[in-house]
Subunit: 325 residues, 2 copies
C-alpha cells in the first residue's frame, strides 16, 4: 500500500508517547484529564506571511511552538501537549529534520509532547498549524478581562527587537543614514527567530496578576484588548517601555514605534494591584525574567500615551500588525 505520508510523519516526528498518553497513530490522541480546565490555543503560520522562505528550519520549528507556548504562558497554564498540522509543497527531509529538531528542543524544555498530527501536500508555501493544550485551575487562569483601575501595567523582557530585525530583513528604509544595519540585525535577530515563551513567569503570576496576555501584534494593540475586555483605560509611559541597548540607541520615533507597535514579541503584558509589586518582582526573579512597570490602568476609558515628563504623545502612525491589513 502507498504509505508515503505515514513514513514521512514517522521518520521525523515519531517518538514514544509519555506514560498515560496515547499519541500519534490512532484516530485521536488521548490525554489524561483531571478536574480543572484545559487551556487551548491554535495558531496558523503561513510561509511568506509569518516567516521567510529561507528561514532556518530549526528556528521555524522553535518559533512555531514558541508562539503557542506563549499563549499558555499568558494564561498561567502548564503545558500538556500539542498537535501539529503541516501542509508542504514537497517533501524536503533536510527541512523536516531541522524543523523537528528546533521544535522538539523547545518541547522537551517545557515537557510538552507532540501527541498527534496531520501532514499533507499543500499548494504554494508551507503552512504550519499547531494546537496546544495546557492545564490550569479555572479560577487561577490569567484572563484579559480582569484589569482594574489603579492596577500597575507591567511587561516582561525587552520590546522592539523583533520589529527592528523584521524591518532590516525586509530592507526597510527606516534607519538613519550610516546606521550599521548588519550589527543591528545581529543584535536583534534572535528575538525575532528564537522567542522564549515566558511559562515560568506566567505560572508564577497566578494569583498575583489581575489580567495578562502575550504581546504578539504589538503592545498598544494587545493592551487595547485587555482594556476592552476589562472595561477600563490606561496611561502608558512610552519611554518606560523596556528596550534592548540596540533599540535604545535608535532615534526616538523609531524606538517608540518598535517598542509600542512592533509585533512578534512574545513577552507578557499584565496588570497587578500596586499592593502586589513585591510579589510580582518575586515571581519575576524566580522565573529569571526582568519585568518593568510601564503605566497604570484608569477608570476612564481609552489609552493615553505620555513621555517621561508626563506630557501626552500623539497616537503613533501604526497601530500594530493586522494579518489582513
Amino acid at each position: 500500500m502507498a504509505d508515503g505520508e505515514f513514513d514521512l510523519i514517522r521518520r521525523h516526528f515519531s517518538r514514544p508517547a509519555p506514560p498515560g498518553v496515547l499519541g500519534v497513530g490512532d484516530d485521536c490522541a488521548l490525554l489524561p484529564t483531571q478536574p480543572g480546565a484545559m487551556a487551548i490555543s491554535t495558531d496558523l503560520l503561513v510561509e511568506g506571511r509569518h516567516f521567510f522562505s529561507d528561514v532556518d528550519p530549526a528556528a521555524l520549528g522553535h518559533k512555531s511552538l514558541a508562539v503557542n507556548l506563549s499563549d499558555l504562558a499568558a494564561m498561567g497554564a502548564q503545558p500538556a501537549g500539542f498537535v501539529l498540522g503541516l501542509a508542504l509543497p514537497r517533501i524536503d527531509h533536510d527541512f523536516l529534520a531541522g524543523f523537528a529538531r528546533g521544535m522538539y528542543a523547545l518541547a522537551d524544555r517545557h515537557a510538552c509532547p507532540l501527541i498527534g498530527g496531520d501532514t499533507t501536500r499543500g499548494q504554494d508555501g508551507i503552512v504550519i498549524s499547531i494546537t496546544i493544550f495546557g492545564t490550569v485551575a479555572p479560577d487561577d487562569a490569567l484572563r484579559r478581562d480582569g484589569a482594574r483601575p489603579d492596577d500597575d501595567i507591567w511587561v516582561s523582557g525587552c520590546l522592539g527587537d523583533a520589529d527592528i530585525a523584521l524591518r532590516l530583513l525586509l530592507g526597510e528604509d527606516a534607519f538613519p543614514p550610516g546606521a550599521d544595519r548588519s550589527a543591528l540585525l545581529a543584535a536583534t535577530r534572535r528575538a525575532l527567530e528564537w522567542p522564549e515563551p515566558r511559562l515560568a513567569l506566567g505560572q508564577g503570576l497566578r494569583g498575583v496578576a489581575c489580567a495578562a496576555l502575550d504581546i504578539s501584534d504589538g503592545l498598544l494593540q494587545d493592551l487595547g484588548h485587555v482594556l476592552t475586555a476589562s472595561g477600563v483605560g490606561a496611561r502608558v509611559d512610552a519611554d518606560a517601555v523596556p528596550v534592548s541597548p540596540a533599540v535604545a540607541a535608535l532615534p526616538v520615533p523609531l524606538r517608540r514605534l518598535a517598542a509600542l507597535s512592533g509585533g512578534d514579541v512574545y513577552e507578557l503584558c499584565f496588570t497587578a494591584a500596586p499592593g502586589s509589586r513585591a510579589r510580582v518582582i518575586a515571581a519575576a526573579a524566580a522565573a529569571g525574567v526582568p519585568v518593568t512597570r510601564i503605566g497604570q490602568i484608569t477608570a476612564a476609558p481609552g489609552l493615553r500615551l505620555v513621555d517621561a515628563s508626563g506630557d501626552p504623545i500623539d497616537p503613533l502612525p501604526h497601530g500594530g500588525y493586522d494579518h489582513f491589513a
Copy 2:
C-alpha cells in the same frame, strides 16, 4: 487600530461560549475537564487537494468539521469543542457566511462548540485546520490495537459512493460507455460532500467493539492499520462490503475498487467478538445506522480478500489514497 482580522472573525464565527467555557477572545480557550481523558484529533484541508475550488462553501464547512467529528466517533468519544484555523487568500464574505453556516449546523447537532481560532491571509488557496476535542473514559476508548483473532469485522453504512462521485467530478474515464454519469453523480455526490460522522454508533460501541477506526483513506488501507496495530490478520469478503444501489449497479471491478479502496468515506470499521453480534446490532439500531459484517480477524498476519464464494481475489491495483502519492 487596524482591526480587520478581529472584525472578520467576529462577523462570521462569533457566538457566546457555552456555560463554563471561555471561548474566542483570550490567549487560550478554557474547556472544563473531569477525570478521564480528552480525545484530540487534528486535520488540515487544502484547496485543490482535499476539496475543489468551486465547492459549495456550506458543504465545505460541514465536511471540515465532519471529518474531525468522525475521528471522535471512531474513539467512542463525546464531542466537547473544536478550534478552527483558516488561511484565506482574500476575504470573501459570501464564502465565509456559507462555510460558517454549514459548520455550525453540524456543530449544533452534536453540541460541539467552536471555542477558538486563528485567521490569516494565506497564499494561493484556502487552508482549513480543525482540532477537535472529545471526552471518553480511557478504558472505554475504541482504539486500533484491540482486534483479536476470530473477531467479526463490521462496517457502518455504505462504502464507495464518495469515491465514485470524486471520479465523476474529476472527469475520469472509468465508467462503462453509455453510463448515465449525471444520474450517478446525483446519487453519490452527497456522500462525498456531506458525510455524516457516526458519533452515536461509536459511543454505542464502547464496551462492545474491540477495535475501531473511521474509513478515510479506503477500507483496505485503514483496516491495514488495525491489523498492524493489533498484530493480527484478516479475511475480508469483498462482495459483502455494503454499497448503495448506484454503486452496486457498476461493473464488478469498479464497484470493488470504490468499495474497498475508495477514500473519504467516514463510516466506521470495527471488530467485535462473535458473541457480541446481538449487542452490535442493538447499538446500530439505537444509532439508526446500518452495520454489515464483512469478514473475520485471523491470527495469521496479512489481509486476504475473497469473493462471495470464498475464492481469493487478487490484490487491487490501488491501495487507497496517499496524500503524498
